[in-house]
């Protein structure tokens, strides 16, 4: 058997391979040779073979069959064998293979070897890949070596101890006595690794931390010597004496000084000294300064020192070296929470970093910019951030868009500015906006009542040219569906109104429906919008009918369902269509997502999906003239919500229908329901989780008592939303004849908002034998005194009765 080729030969051969396949072939041949050589138990050439195996392992080829050979090499007496054997063990073996435990005995012997280099090898291997079992067995040996006077071994033992502690934390106490003298060493290598060991122990155990606090003076002394000692050739790196050790010590000081006043005070002087004396022309000086700044910010330093630290960071930001700028931005991000004002001073520099070419710096600058936005600078910062959004890489756009939305929500100076900002984001980064942004935006737009015309006009213009950005198209479709009438009537006050015909609006919505770029959800939005426009537009109803009926046979099940239901609305329930498709009421800001929120969810956009929370969708016809308005002098009162149009003969039936709709939120496609079932409706009402937090103790009042008709109000306040009062009225009849067709209407002053839910029935039985119950919800954000005017109409003893009254005796707890 010829001698196996040398490592050098193998490498040379492999390098001549021109293709991957050739290389693989050579390697396989060599592996076969190595394997047979291993089988022959050839001691002479084993180390050579293992070296070759390690090379092939580095290139990515399997080398596991060499594991046992490594062990044999370790057991050999020769230093060369041991060296390669240990290297092989570190590269090829780990705790997943059971084989590694066989090493334990070898390592134990080698830790006590006469040659220090062999001991060093053993320590190195144990420190790299020792498993917990091995560490447990050998910790004693390591601890012995930690106390030796040989600095070469001592430093290795220190790092090995760190590894042991990481693997078996319970053994930490064992190393405690050995650490006593560690810092007395002169050798910088030992000092360095000792500081690492101390750092590890302090980070793991608060007791150790308290114990080692007494070392602070010693550490300060060492640091001082390093700075003051002048030029020492052996430790010099670019003119600074052992910067690595300085950085390590600073880090340990940081951990020791955190949350501890005494230690922090002991360090103040030395930190100031390092901060002012270190030369910053080279990277080493900056590394030390950076570490100093981090330490100052973390411990309980005095304010002068903190200002010094932030100024150093500010200087870093202006440095030409990108690395320095990067670390400065990173540390400013960490400190912006605690020292907000100081960081604000550097805002313009940070904003300039947004324009840097370096991706890492841009990301840091963007995060920092968002942290710095506040009420004063929001306009300027937003301008910069929007500009950044235009030009940044795609991986940033989603984060940037979300950040802009959040900041705009918190600090928007005006509604118009807010909507403009959102529009800008949607048009520039429309496809990167996160999904949850769409409902949030819709809610925001709904709430800015005076901006509806402006918003819908801008959205219309935005999608006119390009309807590929899904979130933008979704929001635009929804708005056009809601406020299309404002669009065609050209009512915009904020900017020049555009002339749009109903057909043009329908054109754009239909193109969204047809387009291949539209997602299924977007199509749903568009179809619903078209449907809503059937009540808002006057001349194009037939076109709408046609579009809706076409989609009744769409392949997309979602679209098909909607179209079929809308068709049914046209055909069989045309009388209900206006009521159903009326304007959405103002939605309350959802602050929490608990079930106790009185949230009027946007059920209309997804009518096919049954809401699990029964949304009390308010039906508010803005165009319907209201008797009460006339009565109450017009401008002062918000339009009230009547419970039902009175023109229907089967008024009760309609009420029931609406009652059903209130509860389920979807258009009823079943045949007309039966007469009102009060228990069902009442159950429905009471099952709403709205009444969960009842604050008891608000006295109820009698709001009206005349001609045998008595109306009582009982109050409930929601704990989660203190500006909402829920009033339950109970109407009872003490006369000897029933009151039929009873309708209760209410109006409140302008600062309030009112919502009337459907009553339990329209007949109040005689002799107080039953009551009509109805729920009113009053939103009172300004906590003004509650006043109400009520109008009652009913039929009694064959004649129609009507009465007006004002209710002023609300108890203070109901509105305060």
């Amino acid at each position: 058997m010829p001698a196996p080729i040398r490592l050098r030969e193998l490498i040379r051969t492999i390098r001549t391979a021109r293709t991957q396949a050739e290389e693989r072939e050579m390697i396989q041949k060599e592996c076969a040779a190595i394997r047979s050589s291993f089988r022959e138990e050839d001691n002479t050439y084993r180390c050579r073979n293992v070296a070759k195996l390690l090379y092939m392992h580095m290139l990515g080829y399997p080398a596991h069959f060499g594991q046992l050979e490594c062990l044999k090499l370790i057991a050999s007496q020769k230093f060369t064998d041991k060296r390669i054997g240990y290297l092989g063990a570190m590269l090829l073996l780990d705790e997943r293979q059971d084989v590694h435990l066989l090493m334990t005995n070898c390592i134990k012997n080698d830790l006590n070897h006469s040659t220090q280099y062999v001991q060093g090898l053993a320590l190195c291997t144990l420190g790299c890949m020792g498993s917990s079992e091995m560490c447990r067995d050998l910790a004693g040996e390591v601890e012995k070596l930690l106390k030796t006077s040989n600095s070469y071994l001592r430093k290795k033992a220190a790092l090995c101890a760190v590894h042991v502690i990481r693997k078996v934390p319970e053994l930490m106490e064992m190393f405690l006595p050995a650490t006593k003298n560690l810092l007395n060493e002169k050798n910088h290598g030992v000092l360095h690794t000792s500081v690492v060991l101390l750092t590890e122990m302090c980070e793991r155990s608060p007791d150790m931390l308290a114990h080692f606090r007494k070392l602070v003076p010693q550490l300060v002394r060492i640091l001082k010597n390093l700075i003051m000692s002048g030029y020492s050739p052996e430790h010099d790196v670019s003119g600074i004496s052992d910067p690595f050790l300085q950085v390590r010590i600073l880090r340990l000081l940081r951990i020791l000084g955190r949350n501890d006043d005494d230690s922090s005070e002991a360090m103040n002087d030395i930190l100031a000294q390092v901060a002012t004396n270190t030369e910053t022309s080279k990277n080493v000086g900056n590394a030390i300064l950076y570490e100093t700044v981090l330490t100052i910010m973390d411990i309980k330093s005095e304010s002068g020192l903190r200002v010094l630290a932030i100024n150093i960071l500010g200087r870093f930001l202006l440095n030409n070296d990108k690395n320095i700028r990067y670390v400065a931005l990173t540390s400013l991000l960490k400190t912006v929470q605690t020292d907000h004002n100081a960081v604000q001073r550097h805002r313009s520099t940070i904003v300039d970093c947004l324009k840097d070419l370096d991706v890492s710096i841009k990301r840091r600058a963007m995060e920092l910019s968002f942290a710095l936005v506040n009420g004063n600078n929001v306009r300027g910062m937003m301008k910069e951030l929007l500009y950044f959004l235009d030009s940044c890489e795609p991986e940033f756009k989603a984060d940037c868009a979300s950040g802009i939305f959040l900041a705009a929500e918190k600090y928007a100076p005006s509604k118009r500015w807010h909507i403009d900002t959102i529009m800008r984001v949607l048009t520039t980064a429309g496809s990167y906006v996160r999904d949850d942004a769409v409902p949030n935006l819709i809610q925001l737009i709904t709430n800015s009542v005076e901006m509806h015309a402006y918003t819908v006009q801008r959205l219309y213009k935005a999608i006119l040219g390009d309807y590929s950005q899904q979130p933008l198209v979704q929001v635009a479709s929804w708005c056009i569906g809601e406020y299309g009438d404002l669009l065609v009537s050209g009512q915009c006050e904020e900017e020049e109104p555009i002339q749009v015909t109903e057909d043009e609006v329908l054109d754009i919505l239909e193109s969204v429906l047809i387009s291949n770029m539209s997602a299924s959800v977007t199509r749903g939005y568009a179809l619903t919008a078209i449907m809503k426009l059937s009540t808002r537009f006057t001349c194009t109803v037939n076109r709408i009918k046609k579009v809706v009926s076409i989609y009744g046979s769409s392949i997309d099940v979602e679209l098909q369902q909607r179209a079929v239901e809308y068709n049914a609305l046209f055909k069989k329930y045309d009388h209900m269509r206006p009521a159903l498709l009326e304007r959405m009421p103002v939605m309350e800001k959802v602050t929490t997502n608990g079930p106790t929120e009185i949230v009027q969810t946007n059920g209309e956009t997804e009518p096919a999906v049954l809401e699990t929370k029964p949304p009390p969708s308010g039906l508010q016809p803005p165009s319907q003239a209201n008797d009460l308005l006339d009565l109450l002098g017009g401008s002062d009162i918000t339009p009230v919500i009547p419970t039902a149009p009175t023109s229907k003969p089967a008024g009760g039936e309609l009420l029931d229908l609406l009652g059903d709709l209130n509860l389920t939120g979807s258009p009823v496609s079943a045949p007309a329901p039966q007469i009102a079932q009060p228990p069902f409706l009442l159950d429905g009402l009471s099952s709403q989780p709205l009444f969960n937090d009842i604050s008891t103790g608000i006295p109820s009042i009698t709001a009206y008592n005349k001609n045998g008709l008595k109306i009582d109000f009982t109050f409930e306040r929601s704990n989660t939303n203190p500006s909402v009062t829920v009033i339950t009225i109970q109407a009872s009849n003490s006369t000897e004849l029933d009151m039929t067709d009873f309708v209760f209407q209410a109006a409140v002053p302008k600062t309030f908002q009112l919502q009337l839910l459907s009553p339990s029935s329209s007949v109040i039985p005689a002799f107080n034998s039953g009551t009509i119950t109805q729920v009113i919800k009053v939103l009172n954000p300004q906590k003004q005194q509650l006043r109400m005017r009520i109008k009652l109409t009913y039929n009694h003893k064959g004649s129609a009765m009507q009465d007006l009254a004002e209710v002023n005796n609300f108890p203070p707890q109901s509105w305060q």
Partner: protein, 193 residues
């Protein structure tokens, strides 16, 4: 701590691979490839720090790299190491290699992979920095190489034959043979020894 030290050339061929974390072979190779792609995209004048969270399964890790001629030196570290300090460490490593190999170039790393590992072992143990003093490291490496050489090194067998012959205690060959009147000069046959 340092998670991994990788050295590869401008084409992605690995020249030194050292992981201080348990990872399967395929994962190791994948990391090498992806790191190479990440680092290749960087221009020369942008900063030497890269986020690489997905590679190592944690968001804490950064890649700190330096480009020297045809080689990339990449250190993957977590947040307990100072970024600027690691940059200096890479510089010290390269300067040490330079001292050990006399004007080191890529070929030296290729053909003496084991020696580079041994140098690295004197600087970093278990992911933690052991020694940063260049002269100290070089001295220790030299001492260990001397030990190895004394035993004959890796390519042991052939040179052992030569040294074995050199050590044979051949008896002293007389230069002059004087028997009575006869004077024979023995020719110098040392080239055969």
């Amino acid at each position: 701590m340092i998670n991994a030290i990788l050295v590869f050339n401008n084409h992605g061929k690995p020249r030194l691979v050292r992981f201080y974390q348990r990872l399967a072979e395929e994962v190791q190779q994948q990391i090498i490839r992806e790191t190479f792609h990440l680092v290749l995209k960087r221009d020369d004048h942008i900063c030497n720090f890269l986020e690489c969270g997905s590679l190592f399964g944690g968001s804490d890790y950064k890649l700190i790299y330096r480009h020297y001629a045809t080689l990339y030196f990449v250190f993957c570290v977590d947040s307990s190491e100072s970024e600027l300090g690691i940059l200096d460490l890479i510089q010290v490593f390269v300067e040490t290699l330079d001292k050990c190999f006399e004007n080191v170039c890529e070929l030296d790393l290729i053909f003496h992979m084991d020696k580079v590992h041994h140098i690295l072992q004197e600087m970093v143990i278990g992911g933690m920095v052991l020694e940063t003093n260049m002269n100290e490291i070089v001295a220790q490496v030299e001492a260990q190489s001397k030990l190895e050489k004394a035993e004959g090194g890796l390519s042991a067998a052939p040179s052992r034959a030569v040294s074995a012959v050199k050590n044979i205690n051949l008896p002293e060959i007389p230069r002059n043979i004087n028997i009575g009147d006869i004077n024979i000069k023995v020719p110098n046959l040392s080239q055969f020894m």
